[in-house]
């Protein structure tokens, strides 16, 4: 069992860690390494290839006519909310149907 003094010092330490973490999150520069004071770009080694020199529009294509419609997602059955007693009753019916109980018990339980 920690003493009150130890507990207080532990709490302080945890608060400090939390504060530091928060500051680090809010002010990234506070924890990030300092940027270089000056930047000298490296000398180009090759002529860069331009991303886009010119743009030629592709020829228009015919829009296909859909023949049938397919739903993108086959819908799942909407779950019916069941209360716990209902869920238990359904479970009992399922276990009876699956033959999980001994015969004597199942006979008594079947409606």
């Amino acid at each position: 069992m920690p003493t009150p003094d130890k507990f207080a010092s532990s709490l302080k330490r945890q608060l400090k860690i939390a504060a530091i973490s928060l500051l680090g999150f809010l002010v990234p520069s506070a924890c990030a390494p300092p940027p270089p004071m000056c930047y000298v770009p490296p000398a180009p080694t090759d002529t860069p290839t331009p991303f886009v020199t010119c743009y030629t529009a592709p020829p228009p294509t015919e829009t296909p006519t859909p023949t049938t419609f397919t739903s993108p997602i086959s819908p799942l059955p909407t779950p019916t909310p069941t209360s716990a007693p209902e869920a238990r009753h359904l479970l009992l019916e399922k276990l009876l149907a699956d033959g999980r109980f001994p015969d004597d018990v199942a006979r008594e339980l079947k409606p």
Partner: protein, 371 residues
């Protein structure tokens, strides 16, 4: 207020949630306050379970006899008067084996006591059930060890016990009686936890208890039945899911040490720790009237036939029992709450309260480094 670290706070929160859940399920009534008293009416039993924790299975000298009807009634009256309790729990052995069970129960009922009956169900016929319901039994506790007869009966070493247990559960269901289904998880049956609990739930249990096998008594001869940590973790996930789905009051009464399994994800399970000496203790009176810290313990605190309850509980035995802990657990900040698992199991299996209990000992390599 004493300062608490996060570990203790978490355990305290679980306890509060458990109490709140208990109150909710009892219709808003606050759960009955402890300490509780378990009365082992007899050491005789109709089964021969390999996992049984009854200490006399290993040390027969711990039971020097069996109180007669008058002896039990006098002792019950004494506990009620001295402890000011209105609830007793009947256990054994198999309590229904006593010819005078109805006399003892009727005596309790006349004195306004409620009762909990722990039974394997084999003798809980319709007539006995009706008598119990008419005489103050407000909770029945029955064990189902598997989803098939083979699994259950192999653990009980009693052919037909699975069918008899289910027949009793069916009668409880038909009578709309409050009952708790217990699953004792061993390495042999833990894989059936879902199917077994589904059967318990379908038969109307209001609560489920998931107890990892805690060696003691006969169980001390079968340490190999202990489930692995991973098996227990997987099973807890199933219990938690079923508790949420079916609005069950689910508990894990045998300690699950947080250093072995982080139990925080299982929000629908109440986790219990050793209660000896605490407000929720369940002191256990053996068949001969001698009292122990709990039903797993072999420590005899005193004799209720000749001593007062206050004197017995104030004696050195209980203090020694509750103070004990293995060296490996001493540095742990959670020791005060966790109590290093089950001291009684360590005592029975290894002869010392200060030994790591069997499940902890089997998993020492999993413990986090000492802080």
């Amino acid at each position: 207020m004493r300062p608490r670290n996060w570990f203790q706070a978490t355990l305290l929160r679980w306890q509060q949630e458990l109490a709140a859940e208990g109150a909710r399920l009892s219709g808003g009534r606050p759960a009955r306050a402890g300490p509780y008293y378990i009365l082992e009416l007899t050491s005789r039993c109709t089964q021969d379970c390999r996992y049984c924790y009854n200490v006399w299975k290993l040390r027969p000298e711990l039971v020097t006899g069996e109180l007669d009807t008058r002896g039990w009634c006098e002792l019950i009256a004494k506990v009620q008067d001295e402890a000011d309790r209105q609830l007793v729990t009947f256990s054994g052995g198999e309590p229904l084996l006593r010819d005078d069970f109805r006399d003892i129960l009727a005596f309790c009922h006349r004195r306004g006591l409620e009762s909990i009956l722990i039974t394997n169900g084999g003798l809980l016929d319709a007539s006995t059930l009706a008598f119990c319901l008419d005489h103050g039994v407000t909770m029945f506790e029955l064990t189902l060890l598997g989803a098939d007869a083979e699994t259950h009966d192999r653990l009980t070493r009693t052919p037909g016990s699975w069918e008899r247990a289910l027949a009793a559960m069916m009668r409880l269901y038909q009578a709309d009686a409050p009952w708790c289904g217990v699953f004792v998880a061993t390495c042999e049956n833990v894989g059936q936890v879902r199917q077994t609990l589904e059967m318990i739930v379908a038969l109307g249990a209001t609560a489920v208890m998931f107890n990892r096998f805690n060696p003691g008594g006969e169980g001390a001869r079968h340490l190999h039945l202990m489930p692995s940590v991973d098996q227990v973790r997987d099973a807890l996930a199933v219990v938690d899911e079923l508790a949420a789905t079916y609005d069950l009051f689910a508990t894990a009464s045998i300690p699950i040490m947080p250093c072995l399994i982080d139990t925080s994800p299982y929000r629908h399970i109440g986790f219990g720790f050793c209660a000896a000496g605490r407000d929720n203790a369940y002191y256990t009176v053996g068949p001969d009237g001698r009292i122990r810290p709990c039903n797993h313990s072999a420590t005899v605190l005193g004799d209720l036939r000749t001593q007062t309850l206050a004197k017995v509980l104030a004696g050195p035995g209980l203090a020694e029992f509750t103070a004990a802990a293995p060296d490996v657990c001493r540095p742990c900040p959670g020791l005060a709450a966790c109590r290093a698992g089950c001291r009684a199991a360590a005592e029975v299996c290894f002869g010392s309260l200060s030994e790591p209990e069997p499940w902890l000992r089997a998993n020492l390599e999993r413990l986090p480094p000492t802080p």
